[in-house]
């Protein structure tokens, strides 16, 4: 058996095929002969496998310049033909101005949007990746076991855990606390500025890559009164002399006291999710907030910097164990680590504590929208080109008769598509540059884009080539395939690719309709969030940060303010009623189940007049009374809390345990939205403690906001002149909480408008063409007595049917996708889908009719004499 094979053995066929493919044809005989001979020689001395390997080796050794035949990736470029192709291209563009403009405009507009999205995506993608230690920086997150195996993930962690991890866990180089960046009043000498900052340790500047310009980051660890400031803040305070003046100067941070400037760092780059103009000593913050030193308190956020060879999984489990050692009870909280830069785009978890998304979803949505737009405009191009094919058919016929090869024709049409794409790209780049600032303000972020970035140029060139090929390839193929005999002799011109064109029009409108329906739903949801009744009043409310000075003079302030005509009321509450960030699990009640051990109660510290100011009705019982002394040891909860506790009988008067002390429930407030719309309303407790609430709220009478602001200013100047007044409106705060949703809403609308515009451009091109083609048919029909409506119908029927079909395809798809999207909001708008689709369908139909109606009426009205005479 073996013998036989050996006798008839042939070198590996694939190798020979490969050789034949790349070798110069004139060398083929001798080379194949030599290699064959060598193979046969080899076979005699060794196994066929070895001979095969050796044959392959020899074949590959022929991959040398002298032996490789010429390859024509593109048809061989003959300069004269090339010039001729260009000439014909420009003549065609010029003679078909209308089509050319539609093509270039549609493509340019879409490409502009695509470029802007690419810039934005690149920007988002690079956030926080600039840190030199990016792969060793891990955010520490806490998991909380809930009822039934579920896990919640929080950024808040215990400070002692962070601190101890460096000492006890091998592989942890440093810990970096991440404080909440808050705006504060800063003062140097007489000058007062307001900007953002937080507390930090030395590792904050050294572990992250925030380069120092002057001073020593270590001072932040060594001196409690040390502060580091950014270059731009130094410039603002000390002018151009900051290099010599700033270091060692005293910086007063309102509410925090005097600090000495011990370091100046370069401004954080735009691609950083952290943005701070000043960083004061962590120790100062800890001294003011001693509760942070407890293992059970999770009021800190932080990052650990690992050694380069450390295994994050091992560090995570060690840290998890360390954290659990310091907890009591059965349901212990855990620790997970996530790369610091991933936190920005992938910050959300599912109920198994697996990464479930986050901002990346917006990135995905926009990329999909950009691809849709690009496809829509490429379809325009394909449709217009193949539709015009009949016009070009004679040209193709003549060229072929004279001897043009298929390749030459393909290159002619590809060149046309390239020229159009290049025009479109130039147009779109110009638009992109013009619209860039607009895009920045729309998305509310500074793009960290440098125009020297090679990625930009690669992207632009890549998109140009892809678009040109995508749009030009099919038409080029169709056109070059025409048989000259048909083109030149018979008048019965074959209409190439009609059904494909129909399919593409349907696809185009499906995509447009998807974008439109999505835009409508997204903006409805955004409006819903903005206008939803939160269960509390949010209009005309000024919020002012409550510091010690305000607390001390609160009674005077309140009296003075309430005496003003424009002021409806004054109260304090904190942190914020619409986003109750503080929470605790230190609540006990009779009948608390073991799996409810970690139920978190949100906390609001407030004053007795909170419910009336925010117009939140009581569900049962009463709120705190002004001069009722015992009230500070009583408690008010919300309906949700009552539901979770499931107390038997009338809750009013029952006692629960709050932070170890018994407290009597005196009232139940109706539920209002105290969390983001992605989350459920949380069980909450309202504690009477006006001195430590956090924010002062002044409510203006309706229509008197301006007067109220003036009054607030004058009262503050009078009563607490030392306090630099800064206020925000509660409804603005809520709005900024949903910035991403608002931006998505705006952009979705923009995309929808552009997509329907581009699709209609394509439709307009097609109907114009069809009308031209049917000129004679219409003429004859008119002579035979056809009515105007029947002629218009003849022209537009097909398109209307196509749009209808697209509508039928798009509706179920968009329904499925959008229902899913809405489900992510715990509180989402109720969509009347029938009405929505009705409006969209009708709207699309009307726009289609307007687009094609004009042209079809024009053709139908034309004098048949004119059309029949043309031959």
């Amino acid at each position: 058996m073996h013998e036989e094979i050996d006798n008839q053995a042939q070198p590996p066929a694939a190798a020979t095929r490969f050789l034949r493919w790349f070798l110069r044809p004139d060398l083929l005989e001798e080379v194949e002969g030599d290699l064959h001979e060598k193979y046969m020689d080899k076979l005699e001395g060794t196994t066929s496998t070895k001979a095969n390997w050796q044959y392959w080796y020899q074949v590959l050794q022929y991959l040398r310049p002298f032996a490789i035949r010429q390859f024509h990736l593109l048809p061989k470029i003959n300069p004269d033909m090339f010039r001729s192709h260009f000439k014909v291209t420009f003549r065609n563009l010029w003679s078909q101005k209308f089509h050319s403009i539609i093509n270039i405009l549609g493509l340019g507009l879409s490409l502009c949007v695509v470029f802007l999205i690419l810039l934005w995506v690149r920007d988002e993608w690079n956030v926080d990746k600039f840190h030199l230690n990016a792969d060793q920086l891990f955010r520490v997150k806490r998991t909380i076991p809930l009822e039934g195996q579920a896990l919640d993930v929080y950024r808040g962690i215990s400070y002692p855990l962070l601190k101890t991890s460096v000492e006890e866990i091998p592989g942890v180089r440093a810990y970096i606390p991440i404080g909440y960046s808050h705006e504060d009043h800063l003062q140097v000498g007489e000058e007062v500025l307001r900007t953002k900052g937080t507390f930090a340790n030395a590792s904050y500047l050294e572990g992250f890559s925030f380069p120092l310009l002057q001073g020593d980051a270590k001072q932040l660890d060594d001196r409690k009164d040390a502060v580091a400031i950014s270059e731009s803040l130094a410039l603002r305070f000390f002018g151009n002399d900051w290099r010599t003046e700033a270091m060692g100067s005293t910086l007063h941070i309102h509410d925090n006291g005097d600090f000495s400037i011990q370091a100046i760092y370069a401004d954080f780059p735009a691609g950083s999710s952290l943005q701070n103009d000043f960083l004061y000593s962590l120790q100062a913050h800890l001294d003011d907030n001693e509760w942070l030193m407890e293992w059970t308190n999770n009021g800190m956020q932080g990052v650990v910097l690992l050694q380069e060879n450390a295994n994050p999984a091992i560090v995570q489990s060690t840290m998890d164990a360390l954290f659990k050692e310091h907890q009591e009870g059965d349901l212990k909280e855990g620790i997970i680590l996530q790369k610091f830069h991933e936190d920005y785009l992938f910050g959300q978890y599912d109920n198994k504590a697996r990464v479930a998304g986050g901002r990346i979803e917006y990135v995905r949505i926009f990329v999909v929208a950009a691809v849709f737009l690009l496809i829509i405009s490429c379809i325009n191009f394909i449709n217009l080109s193949t539709a015009r094919a009949t016009k070009r058919a004679r040209e193709v016929g003549v060229r072929k008769t004279i001897g043009a090869g298929k390749k030459s024709l393909v290159s002619q049409f590809l060149i046309e598509s390239f020229v159009i794409t290049v025009f479109a790209v130039i147009l779109s780049v110009a638009m992109t540059v013009i619209l860039f600032p607009f895009a920045e303000s729309l998305t509310g972020k500074d793009f960290a884009i440098s125009f020297g970035d090679p990625y930009l140029y690669i992207a632009v060139i890549g998109i140009t080539v892809i678009t040109a090929l995508l749009a030009g390839f099919y038409p080029a193929l169709v056109l070059s395939n025409f048989k000259p005999i048909n083109m030149l002799s018979s008048k019965q011109e074959k209409r190439g690719g009609l059904s494909l064109r129909r399919g593409l029009v349907v696809l185009q409108f499906v995509l447009s309709l998807l974008l439109i329906v999505s835009a409508l739903v997204v903006s409805q949801q955004v409006n819903h969030i903005m206008n939803a009744h939160l269960g509390m009043q949010k209009e005309n409310l000024l919020s002012i940060h409550q510091d010690e000075l305000i607390t001390n003079k609160y009674d005077v302030l309140k009296r003075e303010l309430e005496s003003k005509e424009s002021v409806a009321g004054v109260t304090v509450a904190g942190p914020t009623p619409h986003q109750m960030l503080a929470s605790t699990s230190g609540v006990n009640w009779t009948g608390k189940r073991p799996d409810q051990e970690n139920v978190e109660f949100s906390i609001l510290w407030t004053a007795h007049d909170f419910p009336e100011m925010f117009e939140i009705p009581m569900a049962a019982g009463r709120f705190y009374r002004k001069d009722e002394v015992g009230d500070t040891t009583r408690i008010v909860v919300n309906e949700k809390a009552l539901e979770i506790m499931g107390l038997e009988g009338d809750p009013i008067g029952q006692t629960i345990e709050w932070w170890g002390d018994p407290r009597q429930i005196i009232g139940v407030l109706q539920d209002f939205y105290n969390q983001s719309f992605y989350e459920q309303i949380s069980p909450s407790a309202f504690l009477l403690d006006p001195d430590n609430a956090g924010s002062l709220f002044v409510k203006a009478k309706a229509g008197q906001v301006a007067a109220c602001i003036t009054d607030v200013k004058s009262v503050f100047r009078e009563v607490v002149p030392e306090v630099p007044l800064h206020f925000t409106f509660v409804d603005d705060q809520i709005q900024s909480q949903y910035q991403s949703e608002i931006v998505t809403g705006k952009l979705a609308n923009l995309f929808a408008i552009i997509s329907i515009f581009v699709s209609c451009l394509g439709l307009l091109g097609l109907i114009t063409f069809v009308a031209q083609q049917k000129t004679k048919e219409i003429g004859i029909r008119k002579v035979l007595g056809a009515s105007l409506p029947s002629l218009v119908g003849l022209l537009s029927r097909e398109f209307i049917l196509l749009v209808l079909l697209a509508f039928m395809v798009a509706s179920p798809i968009s329904y499925l996708v959008l229902v899913q999207w809405l489900d992510r909001f715990a509180n989402h708008v109720q969509i009347n889908w029938l009405l929505l689709f009705g409006i969209t369908g009708l709207g699309a139909m009307v726009i289609t009719l307007i687009t094609i109606g004009f042209q079809s009426v024009k053709s139908a009205l034309a004098n048949p004499m004119e059309s029949l005479r043309t031959e």
Partner: protein, 116 residues
Amino acid sequence: MDKMQEYRLGEFEEVMMLLVGILHEEAYTLKIEEEYTRQTQRSSSVGAVHASLNRLEKKGFLKSKMGAPTAKRGGRRKRIYAVTALGDRVLNDARHLRLSLWNQYPGFSRNQLGYA
């Protein structure tokens, strides 16, 4: 001297030319490659030898014609190379250059090198 530069052969090229001369009627690519491997103990490949032969033929130092087909070659013909007159001269030049250099090299006399 300028003219010399055009004619200068690389070491590998020189060996190729010599082998073509030595193998005579059997001087086709595969044989040359085998002979090269056998005599120098260095490994090469058919492709590499072919590239060099091709270059030398382009320069006019070698000429070639197609030979007879054999069964072992799957019925394909071979290309047989021969040294041209120009090639001969270039080889000679190379030899002279080398000899003259060796003669100037201290410690080596004509006799020691085994030349008459």
